[in-house]
């Protein structure tokens, strides 16, 4: 069965996010005074063949560990569901 994994990678708290800072600054200059902070991350979408959802998640986690995420500076969350 094919699954789709939607992976959101972001910099860990405490890791300098120069893009996020620049974007927050821009938004504040546009008058969005309520804005406290902006963080920029990365979105990765994978299609994975696996017998079930748990196995698909294990495979996606392995891909994150092995290449997609540098756990010294980044963390990630994942949404996963079967697809056609």
């Amino acid at each position: 069965m094919t699954h789709i994994a939607r992976i959101y990678v972001s910099l860990k708290e405490g890791v300098l996010d120069t893009q996020g800072k620049a974007v927050a600054h821009s938004l504040q200059r546009l008058g969005h005074d309520s804005l406290k902070d902006a963080r920029i991350g990365r979105y990765i979408q994978l299609r994975i063949d696996a017998p079930d959802t748990d196995e698909a998640r294990r495979r996606a986690d392995a891909m994150c560990r092995e290449l997609l995420v540098n756990d010294l500076i980044e963390e990630y969350t994942m949404e996963l569901e079967p697809c056609e």
């Binding site: 890791v15 300098l16 120069t18 092995e66 290449l67 997609l68 540098n70 010294l72």
Partner: protein
């Protein structure tokens, strides 16, 4: 002495490194393709050169760190062989976890191509024995992602263990944010591994090794390596 220079798709300083080593040491370095299984027999110094391997996609150096040749580069390093990463090569070494830390985008968010000055923090490594501790070197930098990062507690460990080899400094050797081009934490421009046989730095010694290039401050790095290979660090 022998030297091998790994060529990744997008490397663009590989020939500069080979030319510089040839000019300074009179040797003929061997290019090594990233998709090869093994390094040449007796690879000598293994250099991961600057450039934009794999287009800097995902994270700089991330995909090059997983290239086929890197398994043998790890073995070479584990056996005590010398590995040097320059600029993108430094990024590859941190992504490989052969060196501590991660390299983030410059604090200014700009690509910086300029000369910089760095201070030698350790002259007891195979790469720096022909320098003196505290010596100020002029070398070019050219990068968009050069900000050295480590969580604070690990940074303290790095300092305590003497693994910081180069720091960005002002021409008089003093440290100042003004003279830290990319905003690297604690002005760090180059670090070594615990064993001392793997070094990474953002500045380009190969672009500062002949008088015609405006600085020869990079040449002693090659001479240091040659000296180490011919009998260890004497200082």
């Amino acid at each position: 002495m022998r030297a091998s220079v790994v060529v990744f798709p997008g490397s663009n300083c590989d020939r500069d490194v080979m030319d510089s080593l040839a000019e300074v040491l009179g040797i003929t370095p061997q290019p090594v393709w990233h998709d090869d299984e093994t390094l040449p027999e007796e690879p000598g110094l293994v250099v991961l050169p600057g450039g934009f391997s794999y287009g800097d996609y995902l994270r700089c150096g991330a995909m090059a760190a997983r290239a086929r040749i890197m398994k043998d580069v790890r073995r070479h390093a584990a056996d005590g062989g010398l590995v040097l990463g320059i600029c993108n090569g430094f990024q590859v070494l941190t992504e490989s976890r052969l060196l501590p830390g991660a390299i983030l985008g410059n604090r200014s968010r700009r690509f910086i191509c300029s000369d910089c000055t760095v201070r030698v923090e350790a002259d007891d490594t195979p790469f720096t024995s022909c320098y003196e501790k505290g010596q100020v070197l002029s070398m070019p930098i050219a990068h968009h992602e050069g900000l050295f990062f480590l969580p604070p507690d690990q940074l303290d460990e790095l300092e305590t263990s003497g693994q910081v080899v180069f720091r960005y400094c002002c021409p008089d050797g003093s440290l100042s944010d003004r003279c830290n081009p990319n905003g690297a934490l604690r002005h760090i421009a180059g670090v070594r591994n615990a064993g001392g046989n793997v070094l990474g730095l953002m500045p380009h010694p190969e672009r500062a090794s002949e008088s015609i290039l405006g600085s020869q401050d990079g040449a002693p790095m090659w001479r240091s390596v040659a000296k180490w290979m011919n009998g260890g660090v004497s200082s």
